[in-house]
Symmetry: C2
Subunit: 162 residues, 2 copies
């Protein structure tokens, strides 16, 4: 919009750290795809599982909201998860229309077994740095996130959570 001719692709010279941010994002994507492969589920179903794992048992409508899709689609998501034993439907005791979707213990621990080493590994990196350097890192990330948020018009759905 604003700027005139820019024929230089995303590849104009940037700080090394900026490149690393891009590398990190693509490494993250590969991690998610690895996770999906391990659990034998597609992207959507993997995202559903992470919501079920971190958000506790959920109803179909709530899950639909979090996945940014219709409840009809969620019905099939849960069908698929049930089919491979990753989750089950239970009746909601306080609302007989509603369903409670519960991730299976085995699947939760399988997923956690893959996710936790990654998270703790990344978290421990910070322990390699003295406190005041950690502060610098935190400030930097804080600023980066705020830049992202400033550029994106703040609505819209559709992202992959971890």
């Amino acid at each position: 919009m604003t700027n005139a001719d820019e024929t230089e692709a995303p590849g104009m010279p940037v700080h090394r750290a900026t490149e690393l941010l891009r590398d990190m994002i693509s490494a993250h994507d590969e991690f998610l795809s690895h996770l999906g492969r391990e659990l034998a589920v597609n992207t959507t179903d993997l995202t559903a599982m992470t919501h079920l794992i971190s958000g506790g048992p959920l109803g179909a409508t709530e899950l639909a909201k979090r996945l940014g899709m219709s409840t009809a689609a969620v019905t099939t998501v849960v069908d698929r998860l049930e089919a491979v034993g990753h989750a089950s439907r239970f009746q909601n005791p306080t609302d007989r229309r509603a369903v409670v979707i519960v991730p299976s213990a085995a699947s939760v621990s399988q997923a956690m077994g893959l996710i936790m080493p990654m998270i703790t590994g990344i978290d421990r990196v910070l322990d390699e740095f003295p406190a005041e350097q950690r502060g610098v890192i935190t400030n930097y990330l804080e600023r980066v996130v705020s830049i992202y948020q400033a550029q994106v018009p703040a609505h819209a759905h559709g992202a992959m959570q971890l």
Copy 2:
């Protein structure tokens, strides 16, 4: 009806910077989805455009390789991009079987107009830090990327590039 605040990630307390990494990734996902909305293309087609923009005009087979999909699927990707004027097919002068897919100038500058402010904005954050702090940040990200790469069995496709 709507939940109170459920911002509990899988697991235990982590450094603030680790949380910010997660926030950044999800902000990035939203940015991509914003981009797709603006250019009126789906995720795959957006990814194709970024490859065409940053990788120069490509053949269908090469594009298929970069997108991690069949050449048959790429045929339809390019059909869609052509339909909305984001790209055109040309004949490869040195191989009469082959096609050269060229992104339209208007679409390139539209995309760049959205992408460049983000990239430069993020890159400029580093200018707010003195050189030795930039070094700390770079080291940190280097370590994080290496953790990611260590955890993922290093094959497989399927990620969104920017």
